[in-house]
């Protein structure tokens, strides 16, 4: 078993969920109405839980005997492996919801497949996470429809969000040498197939929403190589401040 590859992939997934959660958490106290405030923080909490499970598994197999907190709070931007999509600022509600939908659809397909991973700890985590991401998808899917098929103003905002986000999504399915190896060993599913399945569901939804799919944009890439947008640095500065300012403390 290629431990280095597994370690790399666990961090890829953990960083994705952590950064996604971090942006959602920014909505706390600022949601469009009370019930939705609670719902968004609920999703943030679930994703944080997934991140924690993934970091803990990575920590267990890490060569330097790191802890989950070490991985989350002491790695710099160039060591983070999330796709650029999840580090983008939270934006308005339409931006948040559409981004969430893209990630939820990805997670549902991914975790469904990962339940059958040849790497048991990952299969175990996927089994737990799937229940929650199914619910997340139901929610974000519903909101995409609500925003697209109601008022002109809402339609405009979600169209704008689609224009901004669409070309960040292919990166979710990007592969590298490590991930190629994991696919070959059936530890992770075929990413090309995953992408096709994802695209199929997304196409159906976007059509139902009567949104215009943008034709051209910059295809985001770099997360797997630790090459990020400017946004991640600010996010980590905020998130990691205490651990950096007071190194070696118990909290």
């Amino acid at each position: 078993m290629n431990e280095a590859a597994i370690y790399h992939y666990l961090l890829r997934l953990a960083d994705t969920s952590l950064t996604q959660s971090q942006r959602l958490a920014e909505w706390c106290g600022h949601g469009p109405f009370l019930e939705e405030d609670i719902a968004l923080t609920n999703v943030a909490l679930d994703l944080l839980g997934h991140a924690k499970m993934l970091y803990e598994q990575a920590a267990e197999i890490s060569e330097q005997q790191l802890s989950a907190d070490d991985l989350a709070f002491l790695r710099d931007v160039s060591e983070f492996k999330n796709p650029l999509l999840t580090e983008l600022p939270r934006g308005n509600f339409a931006f948040t919801i559409l981004k969430q939908y893209f990630v939820d659809q990805f997670h549902v397909l991914l975790y469904s497949a990962l339940r059958h991973s040849m790497y048991a700890p990952l299969a175990h985590i996927a089994e737990k996470a799937l229940k929650e991401v199914n619910y997340h998808l139901e929610r974000s899917h519903g909101w995409c429809l609500r925003l697209s098929l109601s008022t002109e103003q809402a339609k405009m905002k979600i169209q704008e969000a689609l224009d901004d986000l669409y070309f960040y999504t292919p990166e979710l399915f990007e592969s590298d040498a490590y991930l190629d190896d994991l696919q070959a060993q059936q530890i992770i599913p075929d990413l090309t197939q995953l992408q096709a399945d994802w695209q199929q569901s997304v196409d159906v939804l976007l059509a139902e929403c009567q949104l215009n799919v943008p034709k051209k944009g910059w295809l985001a890439t770099g997360g797997l190589r630790g090459e990020h947008s400017e946004h991640l640095g600010y996010m980590l500065a905020e998130m990691q401040f205490l651990q950096r300012a007071y190194p070696g403390c118990q909290w």
Binding site: E35, A39, N42, Y135, R146
Partner: protein, 90 residues
Amino acid sequence: MKLYEVFIRAKSGLNHRHVGSLHAADSHMALQNARDVYTRREEGVSIWVVEASAISASNPEQAESWFDPAIDKVYRHPTFYPLDKEVDNM
């Protein structure tokens, strides 16, 4: 946004109980919001939401004529029928 009343069945075998209310645009949203607000600590296996306007309620001012007669219909209560000790577990 409409007002919805929320009823939760905490565990199978129990009735749905009224736990409170919330606001939502439709029943779908109401169900999801109810799940997020009222079952955060695994307190539910089933949720009902009902638009508050759809609920009919008895009038508290008529309580006497509606509910009091049973007080003297004592023979409806099981304790009215004293049983021999041997079969008193009924």
